[in-house]
Symmetry: C2
Subunit: 201 residues, 2 copies
């Protein structure tokens, strides 16, 4: 099972992901990204990132070895397929924390993944603010509405919406989603069918 | 949200449902069934069942007021639509515990419901038994395989499969499913769209 955590920039995806993986007993694997940027002091290849050259990254793109990628300020960042497929083949679920553009690339290639959208708490607070008009200027309100429309449009492409009101709440909800998704008939059915297949041997 | 718990007869649906509702803090409503059988000592109308006459039940069927129903030994049993629609309209989720035939009637009318199939623990134990052949006779094994095929065929029409290994485990999983389903984008989206609609007033 492929689990994708995404959301608008600044929502706190990285903080929530780190809190999730700092907890003991997680039985899923964080997907290590590949990048062409230089390692920062303390960063290790194969732990923080797979650090590669620009040429190697572009070779990976051309041969279809990237599940998703993007270029920021002259550097590539992306998710190599090989690592994910090897982890999934070993029976472990894979967890990705990526930007919204990357998440949509993944959705198109792996529609059976679990896509979680982390929403900023002020998206729902907007309602409260709209009800109590007068405390904000029209300009502030309109900016918030414009931002909210964009966020809600993004959210439509996901399976779940988790409000990042507190990191602990968001982590608990994400853990609940993963546990529940493992009970989906479409995911357990292959095991049962395999068992029946075995019974005919 | 309509939550339907079903499963093969004898799997322990009633026990699991009672354990679930005996816990404090449940924010969903058990759907009371309608029946034409006589109340047993201690049973109360509107609590254990809605007790009605055969004529009234048949009038409900004919006017399309039953979400699902079945006849056992000359008595009707079923789920009246009115009670469910009123509960859903009040903003509460509704929980149904019904037979597999009834669950399929509900699925056809309310495809957006959450359908949970309670599986007997011996369905997965079958694998273990098949691996350790020799302890059971071929007849016993074949009977179990036949039963398993039927159960797996039923399961295909559900969203989730919960193994009833212990009542506590099954209850915890069902509670997790309900919590997680509330995070589904398709369920929270109307709230966000309504909020945006309000913002234009």
């Amino acid at each position: 099972m492929l689990i994708v955590l995404s959301g608008p920039s600044g929502v706190g995806k990285g903080t929530v992901r780190k809190a999730l993986f700092s907890q003991p007993g997680n039985d899923f694997q964080y997907s290590i990204s590949m990048t062409t940027r230089k390692p920062r002091p303390g960063e290790k290849n194969g732990v923080d990132y797979f650090f590669v050259s620009k040429e190697e990254f572009e070779k990976n793109i051309q041969s279809g070895q990237m599940l998703e990628y993007a270029k920021y300020v002259d550097n590539y960042y992306g998710t190599p397929l090989k690592y994910i497929d090897e982890t999934l083949a070993s029976g472990k679920d894979v967890f990705l924390e990526i930007e919204v553009n990357g998440a949509m690339q993944v959705r198109s290639k792996r529609p059976d993944g679990v896509f979680i959208f982390l929403t900023p708490p002020d998206l729902m607070e907007l309602k409260h603010r709209l009800i109590h008009r007068g405390t904000d200027s029209m300009e502030v309100i309109n900016k918030r509405i414009h931002k909210a429309v964009g966020e809600i449009e993004m959210m439509q492409n996901y399976d779940y919406a988790v409000v990042n009101d507190t990191v602990d709440n968001a982590v608990e909800k994400i853990k609940g989603i993963i546990k529940t998704e493992r009970l989906r008939v479409q995911r357990v059915m292959p095991d049962y069918l395999e068992m029946l297949g075995d019974s005919k041997k």
